[in-house]
Assembly symmetry: C2
Homo-oligomer: 307 residues x 2
């Protein structure tokens, strides 16, 4: 490894080299830049104001803890919530680390357990299903996140999706040209009846930047992969995007930024009729009567009764 160049701004010892911007920065100026990028994203996409309370979805990983830390540093009023998915050691560690962070910084963390909410752990649900783990878990998490926030009376949920997540998801959506998914991939999705506003303030910061942000601020995070993520499509696409970025720096940010600018063009041409799920009241495009979450819930109920 070559020695890091000195900070472009103050000429002090370099902490990180941002290759996509050809920018070496010291620790202090790197932290300022991260804060600036996030504040700018919040403002540009009108995510929320300082008068609102932001509910931060905290998994215990580097992204969500960095997000929580940044929002706190920027002076936003936050509260965390963590869903204990019941994925063995992975979940235990994630929960503990989230609690440690909340305690250290004196911010409230609400903990929910999938076992309690649904009557089963994610481990059980996955083992008893033929569906792909990430897809199942995603559906359950998205639903619960919204439900929890809505019932708590919150107006906005912030998640830690980073640039790498966005770029790889975008690539996946584009390879199959899923108009519906494409249109919904945006840094902010507005509130609508029972749906709470969802925002992603970290979409312009890479995985590496968030990792280095945690390191710079001595944020302890769960450095484990979910035991069920192995071979997931999202990881394959992450790898692809990273390979292109290595070769052509700034590809990720141009790709994602360019898409957001053109996003209106992906408004689905065919209007998909939504109906309210009779189970939970959330609008769903599912052709079945119940939404996917409620169908999973029904299955869990049957399994519990049968055992």
């Amino acid at each position: 490894m070559t020695r890091l160049k000195r900070c472009r701004i103050c000429k002090k010892e370099g902490y990180i080299y941002l290759r996509h911007a050809n920018l070496p920065l010291c620790k202090e100026h790197f932290i300022s830049r991260v804060h600036f990028v996030v504040q700018d994203t919040i403002k540009k996409y009108e995510m929320f104001s300082k008068k609102e309370k932001i509910l931060v979805a905290v998994s215990g990983g580097k992204d969500s803890l960095a997000l929580w830390h940044i929002l706190k540093e920027l002076g936003y009023d936050t509260e965390g919530f963590h869903i204990d998915l019941g994925l063995g050691e992975f979940s235990n560690v994630s929960k503990q680390i989230s609690e440690n962070f909340a305690e250290k910084h004196g911010i409230k963390l609400n903990i929910f357990s999938l076992e309690k909410e649904l009557g089963s752990s994610m481990e059980n649900i996955i083992e008893k299903s033929y569906e792909k783990p990430c897809s199942l878990c995603g559906t359950v998490k998205r639903h619960l996140m919204n439900k929890i926030a809505y019932e708590m009376g919150h107006k906005v949920i912030a998640t830690g999706h980073n640039l790498d997540d966005e770029a790889s998801r975008l690539l996946g959506n584009i390879l199959s040209w899923q108009e519906e998914y494409l249109y919904r991939q945006y840094p902010v999705l507005p509130e609508e009846e029972v749906l709470v506003r969802k925002v992603k303030p970290l979409v312009f910061l890479s995985r590496k930047e968030l990792l280095m942000y945690c390191k710079a601020n001595e944020i302890e995070y769960a450095d484990m992969s979910c035991p069920y993520s192995k071979g997931a499509r999202s990881l394959v696409l992450l790898d692809v995007i990273e390979k292109i970025e290595e070769r052509y720096p700034a590809t990720k940010i141009r790709f994602v930024r360019g898409f957001y600018k053109l996003r209106e063009r992906f408004k689905p041409s065919q209007y998909v009729e939504l109906h309210k799920c009779p189970g939970c009241g959330i609008p769903t495009a599912s052709e079945k009567e119940l939404c996917r979450f409620c169908r999973i819930k029904e299955r869990v109920k049957r399994d519990v009764l049968a055992s």
Copy 2:
């Protein structure tokens, strides 16, 4: 390598397994399928009719020779043209093989030499320029192809671009969201004043299919890479697309087909004013007075005079 399954249609010995369609085929039914796919593409995109003479751009590689062979087999009236780029052994072999094919099948092949047309070989132009070889060569080839066809009185040029070419080019255009390039990536570009109609009848056939088509029909082709293509962005993207396809078969065809369907949405939002190049009369978006081709030509002229 596992043994090939028997042909899905006649149960005879398998010749190829089309993974994206989960379809094993014998030699005979594979050839029929290739013909069917090309005929279908010609019809769907209204490329040309049997009453027109088609000018086929023949490089001597597998794609252009397969294209010429297929069009002949489908009963189209064709004539070939080959541009001798002057890239040493690579160009000599390519020209010889193109001539052999024309002679064997009794079809007319027009040969043009870059040296004669422009006063310099591509090798010379590349060596004396700081621009990327593939970009330079592409500009020169596209210009000459059009000029030759127009001056010969032809209405349509067919090129051998295959599915892999289209998918990787599309990926490149999308990663940088180049609206202008995106909109012009289509199987047919209509004639417009001095611009001849350009068609790509092989866009739904993969590199592998065209290779196996040549083999099945004992078509001898130039199996060499251009000496200047090493490290080209197009090859990096080809490799990326191939890796995704290996993992998720049918990605390429869905990606390209899906894009063609949505293509109208990529009509550039800002109208780019074109002007006629005072050198060649072709509409150009270049901000300089002369189009890029004419600027290259001017440079060559200066170099020749200076030497």
